[in-house]
Structure formats: structure tokens, C-alpha cells
Symmetry: C2
Subunit: 713 residues, 2 copies
């Protein structure tokens, strides 16, 4: 995990968004230069502080006195926007530091994104900035727009409206595309940040900042890769507890990940780990860049969705059905109205209208019919939110209906989304809705997709806070095993006997077993354990035991054990003539039951990722597994058991009694605790774990350890 | 299945789209009336034929002489548009018939959609029309727009541009929404039809018509329910063999289906049957109403996609990654360029550009860079199609680049789609692309989603024609069993002995078996078959054999068979003291193997739907099954085996030898042939079929028969 920087949090970021004064270093008189656009944008944004263009070759830029160096500016400079050739940036940063500048936006490209030389320059830039306590945005970014301050310290072609969405993006191009769309559609932002190379200010810092920011109702982010996954997770979780966080993560397919690597050199992390991290933190994962705003607007401006029961009001049957379909696919429910609602609708609407959900107010409906219908359904205790559909039929008073919807929805504690279909005659109505912060969607699917995101967020928020349980375990015992494995130069994968000791120390149930180093000892062990038993080769040089005939099962008596011991030993010697052989592990046979797998992989970004699934083909062929980032809470463990498709088999789908779910959930949590306590465990497999009606037992344990530094060589 | 109407095909439809003369019955002088809008639309559409307003209370409407009855019109009337109160429509249809009108558009509502009375009126309307040979569109529809004729015989508020898309919709509201969008976005149509209640002209008729229509490059349909599923399938298949058909089917979830029923009273059919039908016919199933045009435009105007390898040209990295992700999720491939391409790109682009796919021409790229990049990738033999992304960066010449893309793509045999992101500064460029029939998509996902539809269509088209195989079977034997079951008043579900006879007659492999009506006969049978055997109760009154202890397996010798016979008989008598008991079926035990299920359900719309899946939990819990409409061809049967998620298990995923796929495929086809030959078979289950490395055997057969009329009571 990356070392956290001295400034990883939100300290000193205020000055980035609303400084008392700004110097533009590299300001230009030439209209085609970025250094000109930035000064112009600052002035046109209505910024109230001092603006100092810095350009040694100019006296005056856009009516402002120009300075030849930032150090020549008479008053204090809070923020510097740097837009000069890359090789001059280090000196300028030094000058900024000396001047007492508190934050710098480095627009200039030619740093970490260009290779080794650039990366070195970027590190040096950060060193200088930190010496002087200067926060740095960028390099290689578009800048910052703050509509509250207001300040447009960017070279973007447009300044968006004010609004409640905070937006950050690693890709500057996505920033410009977003702004271009936002300006045309009236989508507003509180703060808009192009992160660039994220030398200093990153997603974590901005999330920490926006957590407290009353102007920002939802945080939206486009992410290619993170510097410190865990720090992001922690910050996002804090924010998501107070306001929605929506993230679009690119590089979610193998091919996509390659594109990320070649583009930014940042570590992509596995798509599954990101998914697990977002889920754990309550971050809503967008699928397309348009989702960011589809969801963001409703999450920012509409009341939270308290349940999944949706009412549809429409002036046409077809779109009502399409919306109903979409609700079904999204796992939301078509609300069933109370009798009083049906009565109210019957009273208010013409006879031919459909009063059951979806409510069809008919093609000639005007504002009164829409008002009556929307009021009735929002008053209904069985309705958690509503979609109002309009198709532009002959004489449809589109704007009148839009105003009515706004009026009725106003002040309610249930979200209402618009779905005005068409464009030519509906766009004014749609704009009226949007202006009044009741978001409109051009297709039922997008409206429903948004409700689904709102519902996911509501579910996340309604979850009781839960801390991972701390089981009583014997950490010293594990430490001893790991140290021993280390001292003896053992391979990265532990021998099963060792892995068993580790598991036992963490209370993971295992079948009784003993290590035997002769046939006689094996028989003794078997007699103690009770027949039948299994024998497994115990050797640091035989890790794939069954591949070399190193396992025999169901040995019913003394004789069988003796013979099996000899066979196993001889096969093992054949396989590894020079190998170290400890003997065999004599293990009790476990009664058949349902087989599950519990495993752990350590993700480079987010740390241990705990997997659960049914064993055998379910994992190998159907890939029916689910993941959580450790530490896994009791609640998460239960969710995991329910999430796999084969879950009904655990519950007893085929007339069987249910498996002991609590026992599996506990194993999952104990494994999670183990891998959190011992970061050197990089891989773990309990496969299979046999689950009975009461209890569960891990039949085979596999552990890979990354040796600590001092063991190397 | 509905009886096909005398006019179910495209006869006489020309006159609906381009008549020599039109009478508007119910034409009005009042601008707010639909009868006014229609006359106005006809005139404004540039229609070249005669127009006759009919209104007994007016002399003149919109400058045209008005007539008090259609019969008063002096010249011939080809097409009548009827827009008068419902109760007057029957008389007017009679008058139209007498006048020699050849087609009528009945705009008037108040027919089948309003209940029993309306349905009666609709049937009567059709009778009158048929007596006189009048084709009828509607009732309860918006009308027809033909941009080729041209003729706008609708009350739509807008006339769309001309274009190559034919559009039909059961929902009038969706028609207006589509037009409203189309007018704003410049989406053009050849023919645009609101189908309404589909008393006569329906999807089938229009598909038949558009199959031959050179003006229509793709047929788009919004469907709530079909009158005759099989006729649709046949028509759609013919069209899809020549041009793309895209359909949006609403009512695809349970809740959605209910909405369909209440809305149109039409039979929704099961979502799975529709899916199977669309697939069989090569119809591309849209997921949202916007898909219709996203896909339709590219399918109509762009060259077909010959493979799945896509090139991306972009001026920004982030959107390139998003597109790469989308390709991965859609099952399309990121093309790997030939060396010559990489060289050409290196030559033409600045050093910092990324020449591997996605090609990043960099943020300051202009038309020359885009031209060079697009040309190079389209010249590449490893590239089947391209997406060109533009983000509006500083100084980006949006329209110049759009024109360049059009110029380079022109005349190529590979599709090129645009993805100009943003709106404020990109909309003019996007419009330029669209005007030049190179469709633009606002998000990478929508562009890729469209390429996926194109690829599905290409795959469908490239499939060799394949007819279902006709196996040699003994239909008479089946007929005898079914007749016997009928004569003896047998229940709907056949006894296994009977079902076996049916299966055997169709060459479906079964384990050797004999019916025995005493313990002695059972032993004799077992000796003949060879031990071990299974015994199963044979009784028309015991259909769930295992529930009543009616099955014993693995009987190894004479004694075991005797005892099992007695036990089974006594349990059966206990269960059904008055029941008819034929004895037991003595059946050879089959060696273990992989278990699959082959089944059939008869869908009300589309007929027999053949299912395949792995047996047991795969069907019951994981629902890992796949469907095809019968008749199933050899190719389809093979596809089915590969489509299930557990397919690797059949191929031998866990080190086993592959199962005999050919044997299963043949059983699927023989079952298909059986249920096609005998429509009275409504349900069939072979569960399990045990598949070995060579051969497959159906262990249990279950058949339900809908008794023919004469057997009732």
C-alpha cells in the first residue's frame, strides 16, 4: 500500500477553491493561449479576490497589471495557477513557496504521464511544494471551477451553472465533455475538479473536503486508478454515510485495464476488488458516464427513496408497460395502491383512465389530471417514489404539466422523477423540470436505472453500523508457525500441517488429525482418531498432494492404513527423490455434506479480498462466487452466503435440511480476521469446507505467505 | 393459434401508403379537431393525389371542396381516413365499401380496446370491410406517414424527414414520442405506421410488405402482443434474411405482462418464447425505445459488420478506456493492428500519440490527424469496424473533424460510428455526422451496444441456411398410443410405459424395459434384461412414482426383484386403493454419467418451446437452461448445448472425457420433430437423460397430452 502523504487529507484545500488572491503564472495576452483563457475565465466567473497575471514579457493582460515574477506581486498570493513549460515549473514552484503561496494548480503537462524523466520531475515538484507547505493540484490538469466562491480557475471553454454536485475526474477530456454537456443541459455543480496526475491532491483529499461541504449534496468521480485504495475506501465510507458518492471506474475489463495502464501508468487494481471496495464504502458504481449525472441529479436534489415501491403516472399505456418492465428488471416493485388511492383516482380521472398502477391519465390529460394522479399516489402509504411519464400527444400542455408536477412534488418526502419522452415539443417541459431540480429522463429505463441507484443507496444507509467481530484467537501461535516457516527457508506455500496450525489458532474447525512419520505411528494415530481415516503426504516439496497420489481416503482398518502409508511414501519419493518428507497427516474422515469454499486473495490496492462460494464445479465452471474486502462483518458474511446463485442449496432447496449457515459465516469472519492480522498471508484457500446441518469443517487448508524481508535469500 | 385472416399478408397495402386519392371522413374546419389536422397534414406533406374532405356540415375545408358523404365524391377514392364517432364508423365503412374504397385508416377509438361492446363493433367493422375487400389500418390509431409517396395521413404534429427506416408501433403514444424525437434529431423514415388495434393490418402484413420495399433498409417495431406468433416468426425470418428487423417487445417481466393485458387485452406470450422467436427469426431485440434508433440508424445506413474486431480512434485516453471496457462487456474484440498500420500511425501522428488500439490522436488533433488515423485503421485487415471518439478540447475543430470522418468512411465496406461527447460545442458536428448517415452516439456504451447489435445480425446472416432434419420415425405407433390413451379415458399425463412407446417410436434411446404384472414376470423380465434392474410402478393413477415409494433401484438378483415387486405393489395399493394398477416396469440400470434434461412447453403464441439444460440443481436452482422454438435444426441443437453456463461440464471441464454431444443434440432434434408432428403433446420431459462418452439414454419420460375434442367428458 502506498505510504500516505503528509497532506493526504483535506488540510489547506479551501484555498484551492476560494482563495483571497490568484496569480496566473504564464498568463498571456495571446487569445489562443491557455494562459489567456485562464485569466479570462477567472475574471468572467465573477471572482471577487485579487488576480495577478505573471508574465515577464507583458505589462498588462486583460486590463490587469502583469508581474514578471510571482515574487514581485505586492500583496499576498493564496493560489497560483501555473501554465508554463514543464522545465520551468520547478523553479516557479520554488518561487511560489518563497512567496508564501498556499496552493498551486499545475496545468502544465509533461510530468508523470510522459515517462521516467517526467516522473522524476513530478517527484521533485512535490518535494519543493511540501518544503513550503504548498498544496498541489495536477500537474497535467484542466483546473478547478467553484461556482460557490465563484472562481473558474481552469481553461475550460464553459462555466457550468451552480448546483449541488461535486465532480472530480482523473481525465481532463472527460471534464471537458462533461462541461460541454452540462452547459447545454443546465446541469449544475458546486465544485468541479480536474485531478490530472494527482501528485498531491487526489480523490481522497477531495472526498474528505466534500464530506463537510454543505454546498455539495453528492460527490461524483471518474476514476482510472487510485494511489491508495484503502484510504479511498475509508474516505468514501465517511462521505457515503452523509451524502451519496457515485463513481465511474474505467478499466473494468481485461482489455480495458490494459488501456488504463498504458494511459496513466496508474495501477488499475482488479475490477472485482474495486467492486467490493465500492460496495463496502457505499459508493454507487456507475456503468456509463451519463449515469454519473442521471444518478447524481436525483441523488442531490430529490428526497431519498425510503423503499422500493414505485408508482407510475403516464398519459399512455405503452410507456407505462416499458417502465413496469424496467422496474422488474431493476429489482424494484410496482406499488400496489391502497383502496383510498384507487378511489381518489377514480374520482379525479375520466372513466376510461386506468387507476391501478401504472396510472394511465389518458392521452388528453392536462395539468389537473396529472396533479390529481400524482397527489393521490404520493399520498399513498404503499408508494415510496414516482415516475411521471409524458408523451406529447395532440393538445398536451407540456409545460403546464411540468409545472404541475413540480408543484405537487415540492416539499414531499418522496422522490419524483420525470420521463418526458420525445424532444421537439417536450424539451421545454423537460428543461422546466430540470430547472426545478426534478430530473427528467428521456427513457423509462434511465429513470428506473436512477431509482435503482437511489434504492441501493437507501439500503446502504439503512444498514445498521456493524463492526467486524473480534474473535478470541491465538495470534502468537500463528506468529510462531510463520516465523518457523520463514526460518527454515520453507517455500511460499505452507505445508498443510502448518496451515492447519494457523487455522486452528484462529478457531477454524478442522477434522482431528495427527502427523505420523512411520506406518506404525500412522496406525496409532488412526486408532486414536477413529476409523475410517484419510492419509495425506506431508512434505514441503509436495504441494499438489493429489497430483502425485499423495492422498488416500476412507481407510477403514489398521491394515489399510499401513499399506496406504507405504504406497504414499513410495510415490512421494518417486516424485521428489531429494525432497524433504515429514511423513503423512492422518486425518479423520468427515461425513458428507455440502461443500463450500472460503478463500482470500490480497489485492494490491485494497488488501485482502475474501471469497465465498460453493465448492467444486460451482467455483471452477460456473464462477458462482462472491467477494468482500476484509475485514468482513457478521452482516457482510451473511450477505455473502445469500448472494451466490446456488444459495438455495445451502438453505435446503431440494428437500434437505438447511446447512449450518452461522458456522460458515463464522469461518468467513475468522478467516477475515486472520488475514487482517497477518499481512504476510497473501493467499488462503479452505477448499472444501464441508457444511453439515450443525457445524462446518475445513477439510483442506492452503496458505501462501509472502516472506518478510529478513527471510529473503 | 389464431386463424389467419384472408388478408393477413401484404395484398393491397400499396394503397395504404400511396393512394391515388384520399377521402378524410370526419374532416373538420375547426383547427383543434383531429379531422382538421389530418387534412392539413396531407396537404402539407406534399401529397400529389386528390384529397376529399367529407363532412356533411361543411362546404369547404382548407380550400378543398367538402362532401357530405364519401359516396358523393365524383372521382374514385382509394384511401379513406375515418375520424368520426365510433358508433358511426360501421355505416361509413359500408359506404366506403360501396364507393369502392380500397383501404381505410380508422383513427377513431372505442373498439376492441374498450371492452366487450367495442370488440363486437370491431369484429363487425372487419366483416364489412372484408365483404368489400377493404384493407383496414386501426382502429384506434394515429395513421400512416409515407415520406416516399409522400403522404402524411395521420394527426401527428410533425412529419419526419425521409430515410431508410420503416417503423411500426402498436402504441400510438410511442409513435408521437418517436416522431417528436425524430424531428428534433433529424432521424428519417421511409414509412411510419401506427397500428392501433390491428383488426386487419398487423406486423405480419407490414413485414411482408417491407420485405420487398427498396425504400426501407431496416424494419423497426414496437410490439405489445402478437395475434399470430408463428406468422410473425415466418414473416420476420423472411425479412431478416434481407434486411435487419429490430423489435422492442414490452411486457417482458411478470408485472409488465400484467400491464400489457390490462392495456390492450392482447396476449403477451411468455418473455422466453418471444426471445426464442426473435432469435429464431433473426430479429434483434431492443431493450429500450432508444435502442430502436441507435441500432436502426447504423443498421440502415452503415455497411454490415463482418467481424467483431473494433478499432477505436480517440482524442482522449479516458473515453478510449471506457469504450474498451464496453467492448469487453459486449463480447466484441479490441482489434490488434497489423504492423503496417502501426507504422502508418506512427508516421502520421505526433510521437506522444498512442498508436496501439485505442488510437489516441491526442487532445490537439485536427482533421488531418483524425483522417490519417481512421484511414489507417480502416485499411487494416484485422479491423471490422471503428468507433471515432471526440471530446471537445480547446481549439478542437469539431465540424472539420466530423466532415473528415464522413469523407474517410465514405464508400468503405466497414461500419464507422461516431461518439462525439458533450453537447454545447459538439452538437453541430454530431448533426453533420448524422446528416451524412454516419450515426453519432453520445456515450461510448451506446455506440458499442449498437455495434453489438450489428454483430449479432451479421452472425445471424452468416449462418448457413439449415432445415430441421427429418428423422425416420414411426408416427403411426405414436398415433396408436395417443388414441389408446384417449379411448381409455386416460388422464392428461401418460403413464411412463406409454410415454416410452412414444419416445421409442421417435428413436429416442431408452434403457431396455418390460412391463411385468406379477412378481414372477418381473423376475423373468429382469433375467432377460440383465441385473441390476430398477422397478417402477406402472399405473395411470400413480403419476408421481417416487412420492409413493413406487421406484426401487439397483436390484441385483432374483430375490431382490421379487421383494421389491411386492413392496411397490403394496405401497401403490395403499396410495390408490381403487386405482388401476398395470404392474411394474422393469428397467435396466444405466451406468452413471452426466445428467441432462430435455423438455418441451407449448407456448400459446409460438407453439412448442424446446428446453435443454443440465439436470438436477442446474435446472431447479440455477435455472441454467436454454430454449429454442421447434422445429430445432441441428445447428440450433448444437448452439443450445453450448449456451448453458454449465456447458464446460459437458465438454469435460474437470478432466473427464467429453460427453457425447452429438447424441444429446440428436435427442433434442427428435423431440422437436415429435412435438411438431403431434400438436396434442403440450408438455414433455426427459429428465434425466444420462449422457455417456458414447450415447445418451432417457431414464424417465413424461408426456402430457391435451385431449382432442372428441375425448372430452
Amino acid at each position: 500500500m502506498a505510504q500516505s502523504s503528509p497532506h493526504s487529507e483535506a488540510d489547506g484545500l479551501d484555498v484551492l477553491f476560494c482563495p483571497g488572491s490568484v496569480a496566473v503564472i504564464g498568463a498571456s495576452r495571446s487569445e489562443e493561449k491557455i494562459g489567456h483563457a485562464i485569466v479570462k475565465n477567472i475574471l468572467e466567473s465573477g471572482y471577487a479576490g485579487e488576480v495577478y497575471p505573471v508574465n515577464p514579457k507583458a505589462d498588462e493582460i486583460l486590463g490587469l497589471q502583469a508581474y514578471s515574477s510571482v515574487k514581485d506581486v505586492s500583496g499576498p498570493v493564496d493560489l497560483a495557477v501555473i501554465v508554463i513549460p514543464a522545465k520551468l515549473v520547478l523553479d516557479v514552484m520554488e518561487a511560489c513557496g518563497q512567496k508564501g503561496v498556499r496552493a498551486a494548480i499545475v496545468v502544465t503537462a509533461g510530468f508523470g504521464e510522459t515517462g521516467r524523466e517526467g516522473a522524476r520531475r513530478e517527484r521533485r515538484l512535490l518535494e519543493i511544494a511540501r518544503q513550503h507547505g504548498v498544496r498541489v493540484l495536477g500537474p497535467n490538469c484542466l483546473g478547478v471551477i467553484d461556482t460557490v466562491c465563484p472562481l473558474n480557475a481552469s481553461f475550460a471553454a464553459h462555466m457550468p451553472d451552480g448546483g449541488g454536485q461535486g465532480f472530480m475526474s482523473q481525465s481532463g477530456a472527460l471534464c471537458v465533455a462533461v462541461l460541454d454537456l452540462a452547459v447545454a443541459e443546465g446541469i449544475g455543480f458546486s465544485r468541479f475538479v480536474s485531478l490530472g496526475n494527482k501528485a498531491d491532491v487526489d480523490e481522497v483529499a477531495l472526498l474528505r473536503k466534500w464530506e463537510e461541504d454543505e454546498q455539495t449534496g453528492a460527490a461524483l468521480a471518474y476514476i482510472e486508478g487510485l494511489t491508495d485504495g484503502r484510504a479511498f475506501l475509508d474516505a468514501a465510507r465517511c462521505v457515503a454515510a452523509r451524502k451519496p458518492v457515485v463513481a465511474l471506474k474505467s478499466g473494468t475489463t481485461e482489455a480495458g485495464s490494459q488501456a488504463v495502464s498504458s494511459h496513466t501508468g496508474s495501477l488499475a487494481g482488479s475490477a472485482r476488488a474495486y467492486q467490493a471496495a465500492f460496495r463496502k464504502a457505499g459508493v454507487l458504481q456507475a456503468q456509463t458516464w451519463l449515469d454519473l449525472f442521471d444518478w447524481g441529479l436525483a441523488l442531490t436534489y430529490q428526497p431519498a427513496l425510503a423503499g422500493s415501491r414505485i408508482a407510475i403516472v403516464t398519459n399512455a399505456g405503452g410507456p407505462g408497460i416499458l417502465t413496469t418492465d424496467a422496474l422488474g428488471h431493476a429489482g424494484l416493485a410496482l406499488a400496489r395502491f391502497e383502496d383510498a388511492t384507487l378511489e381518489a383516482l377514480r374520482d379525479a380521472l375520466p372513466e376510461a383512465a386506468a387507476v391501478e398502477n401504472p396510472v394511465d391519465v389518458l392521452g388528453d390529460a392536462g395539468p389537473p389530471e396529472y396533479a390529481a394522479a400524482l397527489e393521490a399516489v404520493l399520498d399513498d402509504g404503499n408508494v415510496d417514489g414516482a415516475v411521471v411519464i409524458l408523451t406529447p400527444q395532440i393538445l398536451t400542455d407540456v409545460e403546464g404539466i411540468a409545472q404541475t408536477i413540480v408543484d405537487v412534488a415540492q416539499g414531499r418526502d418522496k422522490p419524483v422523477l420525470g420521463c418526458f419522452m420525445g424532444e421537439e415539443t417536450t424539451s421545454a417541459g423537460a428543461a422546466l423540470l430540470n430547472r426545478n431540480r426534478l430530473p427528467n429522463y428521456r427513457s423509462p429505463n434511465r429513470a428506473v436505472n436512477t431509482l435503482q441507484a437511489m434504492w441501493r443507496y437507501a439500503e446502504y444507509r439503512s444498514r445498521p453500523e456493524s463492526e467486524p467481530e473480534a474473535f478470541e484467537v491465538d495470534g502468537d501461535a500463528v506468529r510462531r508457525v510463520l516465523d518457523a516457516a520463514c526460518r527454515e527457508g520453507s517455500p511460499v506455500t505452507l505445508v498443510e500441517v502448518e496451515a492447519r496450525d494457523v487455522m486452528a489458532a484462529y478457531g477454524i474447525p478442522l477434522p482431528p488429525a495427527r502427523l505420523a512419520s512411520s506406518a506404525g505411528e500412522a496406525v496409532e494415530a488412526a486408532e486414536e482418531i477413529g476409523f475410517p481415516v484419510a492419509l495425506k503426504i506431508a512434505s514441503p516439496d509436495v504441494l499438489h498432494k493429489s497430483d502425485v497420489g499423495g492422498i488416500e481416503l476412507g481407510l477403514a482398518d489398521t491394515n489399510a492404513v499401513k499399506q496406504a502409508y507405504d504406497r504414499i511414501l513410495s510415490r512421494a519419493r518417486q516424485h521428489a527423490p531429494e525432497g524433504e518428507i515429514w511423513g503423512v497427516l492422518v486425518q479423520a474422515m468427515v461425513a458428507p455434506g455440502r461443500e463450500v469454499i472460503v478463500g482470500v486473495n490480497r489485492d494490491a490496492q485494497f488488501g485482502p479480498l475474501v471469497m465465498f462460494g460453493l465448492g467444486g464445479i460451482y467455483v471452477e465452471v460456473l464462477e458462482d462466487v462472491t467477494f468482500r474486502l476484509a475485514p468482513v462483518t457478521a452482516r457482510e458474511a451473511e450477505e455473502m452466503l445469500d448472494e451466490i446463485k446456488a444459495a438455495p442449496l445451502l438453505h435446503g432447496a431440494r428437500g434437505e435440511d438447511p446447512a449450518d449457515l452461522a458456522a460458515i459465516a463464522e469461518i468467513v469472519q475468522r478467516v477475515s480476521q486472520l488475514v487482517c492480522d497477518f499481512p504476510e498471508i497473501v493467499e488462503l484457500d479452505l477448499n472444501p469446507v464441508i457444511v453439515h446441518q450443525e457445524g462446518a469443517v475445513a477439510i483442506d487448508a492452503r496458505l501462501s505467505v509472502k516472506q518478510p524481508e529478513e527471510c529473503k535469500e
